[in-house]
Every structure is written in structure tokens, then in C-alpha cells.
């Protein structure tokens, strides 16, 4: 209920923050929204000597399109994503995802960067960013570097971020015309992690066939799962009931969830299949509307 003692730092610049992380290697964590980290510390499932709060560093929260990418500042609150007209109209997969992260209160503090940097495959943004083929910008002692999303999730609570790194930006390619996406999440109650969830981002070509497909699953293994076979299967095919059903079947087969109180392995895999089917249908609807 009460975290173990730690030192708290509130730097005003990125350089100061990185310096603090480097001064305490192996014993410092970045504090962003705190909605994943603080519950962990309160239950003493983890402890840390130093928290480096990046919440007072200016210019880390933003949403804008530039140079063919949607740029999301790492400290952008989930509620800002939810309220953004740009996200709602052009990035429905992101809008769907933000709306089911925890609950509205948590979303007022939680940040997009934190949701990714925490490395929890049960968080919702990891699968969504896989489906969107996002890039992660890490700023650290060596400066800025860009990490492809496929290389970002290393293991349970482990990412490609090095100890001195701060996740400062997420870059998402602006979808071409004919694109649509959707996120479908099954949860026992509002605020729960996903029993299963599927993120889909599609682009349909002028002939109506699938030109690009991103499909990824939340809480289906120690890292978010990209359903590569399902994606590959869909390329060049018209999205019909039959092709959607087969893609969904392939996605379900890619899920490697653990059994827990949310369900048995077989149940979660079946739900991943069903939700992928629903997400595909919704993504196709939205793509046709574009």
C-alpha cells in the first residue's frame, strides 16, 4: 500500500533527467504518468532507489503531423489522445485504443510513452503500435535514436530502452488513402487488462484488395504479439467473410497467452481469433469510408 522509500528528482530539462538516470545506473526509473509504475511500487512488486519525474520537462507532450508522420510526444496524456479530433478522424485505431486504456481517471495521468516504456504486454498501446508500424524515439546520453517497433519489446517488462534513455517521441507513418484501423478489447470490467485484444491497421488498394496489413495482439504472451502469418495471408486478397475468418484464425493461432483468472489458454486464443475478426471487419469499414 505504501511504496518503499526512494529519492525523487524533478528535472526541468532532458539533459538533467538523462544525467540523473546515468548517476544511478540500475537503480533509477523514469516517472511519467505513474499509472503503471506507482501501483507496482505500492504493492512492493518492485522497488527503486531513485524516481526521475519527467513531468516538468517542457515540450514532451504534443500531437502533430510532420514530414509524413504523426508525432506523439512521450508525455502526451491518454486523455489528450481521446479528445483529439485529428486522432479520432485519421487514426481510429489509436482512438479506439486510448478509449479502453484503464478508465477515464487513469487516462488523465497516464502517458502514451509510459504505456510503451513499461514493457507490459498487457498494456494496450504496444499491440497498437505494432499494427501501426510505429517508431520509438529514445533520447539518451548518446543523443536521439530511432527504434523500429518490431525491435522495441524485448521481454516481459523489458524494452530496447537503455538505462539512460527516455522515450521522448512516438512516430507513426501517416496512413495512405484507403486506410482504416480498429482495436477490439475484451475485458472483465472497465479498467481491467485485456482478456484478449486485437489491433488492426489496414490499407485497401484501388482494386479493393488488402495492400497493407498490421495485426497485433495484447496480453497474448510475454511481449505483444505481431500476427505475421495473418498479415501476410491478407496481402493481395479482397476482404471477404472467408478471408477475414482465415486471417482471424491465423491470428488466434499466433497467440501464446498464459492461463490466469481471465481465462484458460484455449479460451484466450479463441477470443483473440474472434476479436481479430471483429477488428478486421471494422477496419475494412473505415478503410472503405476513406
Amino acid at each position: 500500500m505504501i511504496p518503499a522509500s526512494f529519492d525523487y528528482h524533478s528535472p526541468r530539462t532532458l539533459e538533467e533527467a538523462i544525467g540523473l538516470l546515468q548517476s544511478h545506473p540500475d537503480d533509477a526509473k523514469v516517472l511519467s504518468g505513474g499509472q503503471s509504475l506507482l501501483p507496482l511500487l505500492k504493492l512492493r512488486l518492485g522497488s527503486v532507489g531513485h524516481l526521475v519525474d519527467i513531468g516538468r520537462i517542457p515540450d514532451l507532450a504534443y500531437l502533430r503531423e510532420e514530414g509524413g508522420f504523426l508525432l506523439i510526444g512521450g508525455c502526451t496524456r491518454e486523455s489528450a489522445l481521446e479528445r483529439s479530433e485529428l486522432i479520432r478522424t485519421k487514426y481510429p485505431l489509436l482512438a479506439d485504443t486510448a478509449a479502453v486504456i484503464a478508465d477515464p481517471l487513469v487516462r488523465n495521468m497516464a502517458t502514451v510513452g509510459g504505456n510503451l516504456a513499461h514493457g507490459d504486454p498487457a498494456n494496450d498501446h504496444p499491440a497498437t503500435m505494432l499494427a501501426l508500424r510505429a517508431e520509438i524515439v529514445a533520447t539518451g546520453p548518446g543523443g536521439r535514436r530511432v527504434i523500429a517497433i518490431d525491435d522495441f519489446f524485448a521481454g516481459l517488462f523489458a524494452t530496447a530502452l537503455a538505462p539512460g534513455d527516455i522515450l521522448t517521441e512516438i512516430r507513426i507513418p501517416v496512413p495512405p488513402p484507403g486506410s482504416g484501423g480498429a482495436y477490439k478489447k475484451l475485458e472483465r470490467k472497465v479498467g481491467d487488462f485485456a482478456t484478449a485484444a486485437s489491433a488492426v491497421q489496414l490499407t485497401l488498394g484501388p482494386d479493393g484488395a488488402v495492400a497493407k496489413a498490421g495485426i497485433a495482439l495484447t496480453n497474448a504472451g510475454p511481449v505483444p504479439v505481431r500476427a505475421t502469418d495473418a498479415e501476410t495471408y491478407l496481402i493481395g486478397k479482397a476482404p471477404s467473410d472467408a478471408t477475414i475468418a482465415e486471417a482471424a484464425r491465423l491470428a488466434g493461432a499466433a497467440a501464446t497467452p498464459s492461463a490466469d483468472r481471465r481465462g484458460a489458454v484455449e479460451y484466450k486464443q479463441e477470443m483473440a481469433r474472434i476479436l481479430t475478426g471483429r477488428a478486421l471487419r471494422r477496419a475494412v469499414e473505415r478503410a472503405k469510408g476513406n
Partner: protein, 162 residues
């Protein structure tokens, strides 16, 4: 450092204190400031009984450090009353029986305050979505929704309504 001087506005009044880094905002309010209107209902960031407004936005104060709130504006349920009288939101909950045990109520009131500030005429769906981070074990939410609708209607009136 493990101890910090913080200064924040609580219901418009500036408060300063020396706090441990790990002190949760909810404990700062309840124990350091003896403002026990904000409740603790769970250990797991689920229930929302601890909801306060930070810079006008409802947050779970059990999942915010007091040091994070340094320099910010916090509103608690103690800040709702107007000259010793129930404000329209509190009155709505009174009129429509929006509470039984009252444990979730401060959180419900704060979330409602923020909702009606942002959306003065919410639909039932919007109300239910807005309070979805506040759990109630007593009421089944039906009268809570009615209370919010009552408050919304009262706030939309140009003159004060009992």
C-alpha cells in the same frame, strides 16, 4: 532526496509541507492535512474513491505522489460547498438518493464536477462513461446517474434552484 518541501493549492488555499518522496497524495490530504473527505477504497488503483481534481482534471489521488502535485491546484470534496450550503452537484445526490453508505460519494462528486464543467448536458451514456473509474458497491449506479442529471439540469438554470 527522500524528503521534499512542497507547496500546492488545496481548494484555492496555499498549503506547504515537508513530505517524504513516497507519500501518496491521498495520504497527504487525509493524514498530513487531516482532510478526510477523500477516501481510500482499494489498494489497486481500481475504485476511484480517492478521486480529486488536479488542475481541474479528475485523478486517483492514491496513484499520484504528493511531490508530483507540487505547484499544482488540487480540489477535494471539501471544496465543493458554497457558503456552508451543498453545491448543485451535492444537492443533486441528496435529491436523487445518489448514495447509500457514502464511501464512493466524494469520488463520484469530484468526477461529476469535472464532467459537468466540460460537458454541461451529458447523455446517460456519457455520464456512465465518465464515472466508469468510480466503483459503487451499494447503488447499482442508477440513482448516481439520476443525481448527475439533476445536477446538470440545475447548473444549466440561470438562477439558483433548490
Amino acid at each position: 532526496m527522500a524528503q521534499h518541501e512542497i507547496t500546492l493549492k488545496i481548494n484555492g488555499a496555499e498549503k506547504s509541507a515537508s513530505v517524504e518522496s513516497r507519500l501518496l497524495l491521498v495520504h497527504f490530504l487525509r493524514e498530513t492535512l487531516a482532510m478526510t473527505g477523500t477516501h481510500i477504497g482499494c489498494d489497486t488503483t481500481h475504485c476511484g474513491a480517492c478521486t480529486v481534481l488536479m488542475d481541474g482534471e479528475p485523478v486517483k489521488s492514491c496513484t499520484v505522489l504528493a511531490v508530483q502535485a507540487d505547484g499544482h491546484d488540487v480540489t477535494t470534496v471539501e471544496g465543493l460547498e458554497q457558503g456552508g450550503k451543498l453545491n448543485p452537484i451535492q444537492n443533486g445526490f441528496w435529491q436523487e438518493h445518489g448514495l447509500q453508505c457514502g464511501y464512493c460519494t466524494p469520488g463520484m462528486l469530484m468526477t461529476t464536477s469535472a464532467l459537468l464543467e466540460r460537458n454541461p448536458d451529458p447523455s446517460e451514456g456519457e455520464i456512465r462513461e465518465a464515472i466508469s473509474g468510480n466503483l459503487c458497491r451499494c447503488t447499482g449506479y442508477v440513482n448516481i446517474v439520476k443525481s448527475v442529471q439533476h445536477a446538470a439540469a440545475a447548473l444549466r438554470q440561470p438562477s439558483p434552484e433548490a
